[in-house]
Amino acid sequence: MIIEEEFTVEAALGHVWNCIRDAAFVAPCVPGCQDVEDIGDGAYRAAVKVGIGPIKTVFKLDIQVSEEAPPGFARIETRGQEGTNASRLTAKSDLTLSAAGAGATKVHYRSDVQVVGRLAKFGLGIMKKKAKALGAEFAENFRAAAEAGSPAAISGG
């Protein structure tokens, strides 16, 4: 399952890069993200609440930035599970930032997400739509946050 999103942030490339690489900054933008922990050298742990209708669960994620070429590119590998391994998630995401004239930055991310286990049994079609919606919501939150100010200025999620 591919989730792809592209949006423009009215802020300088360097600034946007700093924002996106700051876990504390990004976490509140991720819908359902309850907490995130920076374990150092590009590794993070996060808990993300996910739900479709009556189905509610929390994915415990291990995130690792595997490749990085600041300020334009980062590759992120994610592994996670929910409900004591009832479902497992693996994702490989590429994040590319590029200057988009007049101090704006184009953010493009593409992640290949695989979910296996009970949630996967549920139906791929709905999961894709839900994932797309989460992607769009993240983009909107991040764009607003990045334009509002620097990472330190962000209030709680």
């Binding site: 399952m1 004591t84 497992r88 693996t90 286990g117 049994k121 791929l124």
Partner: protein
């Protein structure tokens, strides 16, 4: 047929029908033993990964958990019917999402399932290949790095990467033969992966006795394949393995090889308690096996008068992560790629490729459905170009007794022409079909041949004290009615009524060897052994009767109902009953009367007739039976939906032992073939199966059943069998998809080349045609 053999040709209800109607039939998932535990699987979340370590501590600590097994508990070698490329559980590497990696035995199924998720497995993910193209690409990751060292019983390609098997056969002048053709048709056909959808998911009950002897009740098509795999995969000597067939809730090839038996035995051994493992539907669909999806490029050449002269086929099968029966399926598919026609110049080439998906194995038709869908669809295209009626073209080229099959085996009897004429007449072939508004109707035809003799089988017939007999063959009745049919054959040989014959539950402790309920073989192959065993009993009966009636055995005759009499003297005192003879043999002279029979199929190929390479030894597969089908379909032009209105299925049973059971097999097999043609397809996104449930994988229900399936049982006695019988259980499936595809062509003019013919594909084709 003298009245002595009256037990044949009748359709008594199945021996076990009442038990099943009452809900009393015991399937292995219904069985309970004292102290029994429940098993559950932990399966791989990765399509391709090295297994670095296991940590079962959390699982073992969970209350109610009695044992956890992983590959570290394997005490035997690799398994696999044709190449030993697999283990009881994933070992060292996992090669498809859903592959069993560990298993837990606990006091309840719920606890076992929860605890299975607590077994921590450390993986190192590897790149995976989801398709044939990816698997064969330069530098593609290898599933089986040390494939070359595996034990194999077929000639495998060297350093072919993910290429598991490559088979080729050339007959006559091969592709040069196309120079004799006035018209050539060529096309690429695609076939989807079909799931067996047996109603009973895989289930096993295993229990060790204190002396270390294990008894396994499982839903299987072969108690001897289970025994062999337990021996090879766990190193248990066969003296310590007893396999018993419970009632089986359908197999269709999916239970020809082992499914969960090895895991259940490992759990029972480690937990020192009986363990019952029953897969859920989505586990069965995700972890077990299905029919090979693939692509076939087919080319056929014919003279203007319709004489077929040349056929070329190149076939690629996706074989999944483990070979299972793939090399054999490929060999059989190639052998049928010529079709049931006298085409002199043939070149067929086939490949089966490893991919990181569940294994593809045996499924009713065994490679023939794929080859026939392509071949029989193309024959119709050729008929259209030649301006010859599709049935005429088939009759003109139909293979006859005395002709030789691809490979050189001689056809002993062929009813192909009769079958085609039968369906032509029955379907009123030339009458145009009126369709409701917005729909189009059409009639399509296909021809089919399939074998029914395969490998070996034994049989023991024993006279019992009251003069009745008991047949023991080890052949498992998976619902096709073999218990009843074999009992009828035994009754016929001894002039008994079927009520005077009982059938022993298949049990490796007592049964003679039998390869399995596969390849439509039971009626012919096991029937051979049963007849021989019964005749051995007959001879002993006559010896006793000769002494009791003081006359030469030659002057004796069997009399209906279990009597031996002096021929020509019908009087009462000139005969003795089987019971009298039994009494004499048990308590006076000679000892117990037991007859045994043993049969081996052997019809070696002729390398002079057909040059082959990379194929399995097909000499153990022979005696073809023939059939044809006409199908009327209705296509909804607004949605592309295809509905089968009626089908006429003529199949040659040689001599119908139980006509009713044969008709039921034709109904069921045709309907399974209809599902293959119209709705059934397992779908993957990369290497993940996306529709492992009956909610998302649809096969025909009562509403999809055609208005009528006219089963026409032809009887062209098979000269190579004492009772003239042949097996027909796979043919009606094989013929269905091409007949339906040709009917859709007749209705719409479309020439579709990919099944299933989903409404979406049909509508898009209709719109593209304009």
């Amino acid at each position: 047929m003298s009245d002595i053999e009256s037990a044949i040709g009748k359709s008594p209800p199945r021996l076990e029908a009442a038990e099943k109607a009452a809900g009393q039939a015991l399937f292995s998932g219904d069985m309970v033993l004292p102290g029994m535990l429940h098993g559950a699987l932990l399966t791989s979340p990765y399509a391709h990964a090295r297994i670095l370590s296991y940590d079962a501590s959390a699982a073992l600590a969970h209350p109610g958990v009695k044992a956890v097994v992983t590959a570290e508990d394997i005490t035997g070698g690799a398994i696999g019917p044709l190449v030993r490329d697999e283990y009881a559980l994933a070992r060292g590497k996992t090669r498809y999402i859903g592959e069993p990696v560990a298993a837990v035995a606990a006091e309840s199924e719920a606890i076992a399932r929860l605890a299975a998720r607590l077994v921590e497995v450390e993986y190192e993910e590897l790149p995976a290949v989801a398709t044939i193209a990816e698997a064969m690409a330069e530098g593609a990751p290898l599933l089986h790095e040390d494939f070359a060292d595996y034990f194999k019983i077929y000639p495998a390609p060297e350093n072919g990467g993910n290429l598991m098997t490559r088979g080729e056969a050339v007959m006559g002048r091969g592709t040069d033969g196309f120079d004799e053709a006035d018209i050539v048709v060529e096309g690429v056909y695609e076939v989807g992966a079909q799931y067996h959808a047996y109603m009973e998911p895989v289930s096993v009950l295993a229990a060790f006795a204190p002396d270390g002897r294990v008894t396994v009740w499982s839903s299987t098509q072969s108690i001897f394949r289970v025994q062999a795999n337990l021996h090879e995969g766990l190193g248990i000597p066969m003296t310590k393995i007893r396999c018993v067939a419970a009632r089986v809730g359908g197999g269709f090839g999916g239970k020809a090889e082992v499914s969960g038996e090895l895991v259940a035995v490992m759990l029972a051994r480690k937990a020192a308690a009986p363990v019952r493992l029953v897969l859920s539907r989505d586990e069965d669909m995700t972890s077990m096996r299905a029919r090979h999806p693939g692509t076939l490029r087919v080319k056929t050449g014919a003279k203007a008068d319709g004489t077929l002269v040349a056929r070329e086929v190149e076939l690629w099968f996706d074989a999944g992560a483990y070979a299972d029966d793939s090399p054999a399926v490929l060999s059989v598919s190639l052998q049928y790629a010529r079709g049931p026609y006298n085409i002199p110049h043939v070149h067929v080439l086939g490949h089966a490729v490893y991919t990181n998906k569940l294994r593809f194995g045996a499924f009713r038709g065994f490679g023939n459905p794929q080859a026939s869908f392509a071949g029989e669809s193309q024959i119709d295209e050729l008929a259209e170009k030649l301006g010859i009626d599709p049935i005429e073209l088939r009759i003109k080229n139909a293979i006859k007794a005395g002709d030789r099959w691809l490979g050189g085996q001689t056809i002993t009897s062929s009813a192909l022409g009769d079958a085609l004429r039968a369906v032509r007449a029955a379907s009123d072939w030339t009458r145009p079909r009126a369709a409701p508004a917005g729909c189009k109707r059409g009639l399509g035809v296909s021809a089919v041949a399939h074998t029914c003799a395969f490998l070996s089988a034994g049989a023991i017939v024993r006279l019992q004290g009251d003069g009745t007999v008991i047949v023991n063959t080890g052949a498992v009745d998976i619902g096709q009615g073999s218990d009843t049919a074999l009992s009828q054959m035994c009754a016929a040989a001894l002039g008994l009524d079927i009520e005077q014959v009982s059938f022993a539950t298949p049990d490796t402790d007592s049964a003679p060897y039998n390869y399995g309920t596969v390849a439509s073989r039971v009626t012919y192959t096991v029937g051979h052994a049963v007849h021989e065993a019964a005749m051995a009993v007959r001879a002993q009966l006559f010896d006793h009767a000769a002494a009791m009636l003081e006359c030469a055995p030659e002057r004796l005759e069997l009399r209906p109902g279990g009597r031996v009499g002096v021929s020509g003297e019908p009087a009462r005192n000139a005969e003795v009953s089987f019971a009298d003879i039994a009494g004499r043999s048990l308590y006076a002279v000679g000892g117990p009367i037991t007859g045994s029979g043993s049969f081996m199929t052997s019809d070696p190929l002729d390398p002079e007739h057909t040059k082959t390479s990379g194929l399995l030894d097909l000499g153990v597969l022979s005696v073809r039976s023939f059939g044809a089908q006409a199908v009327e379909v209705e296509v909804d032009e607004a949605t592309g939906a295809v509905r089968v209105v009626e089908a006429w299925c003529a199949h040659d049973a040689g001599r119908a032992v139980n006509p009713g059971a044969i008709e039921s097999q034709i109904h069921g097999a045709f309907t399974q073939g209809m599902g293959y043609a119209l709705t059934e397809e397992l779908l993957w996104e990369d290497c993940r199966l996306v529709n492992p449930s009956f909610m998302d994988y649809k096969f025909p229900g009562a509403m999809e059943a055609p208005e009528r399936i006219n089963a026409i049982v032809l009887e062209t006695p098979e000269v190579s069998h004492p009772l003239g019988v042949k097996g027909v259980a796979e043919q009606p499936l094989v013929a269905a998809a091409p007949a339906i595809n040709n009917a859709v062509s007749a209705a719409t003019g479309l020439r579709l080349k990919r099944i299933p013919l989903t409404p979406e594909r049909v509508l898009n084709a209709l719109l593209a045609k304009g």
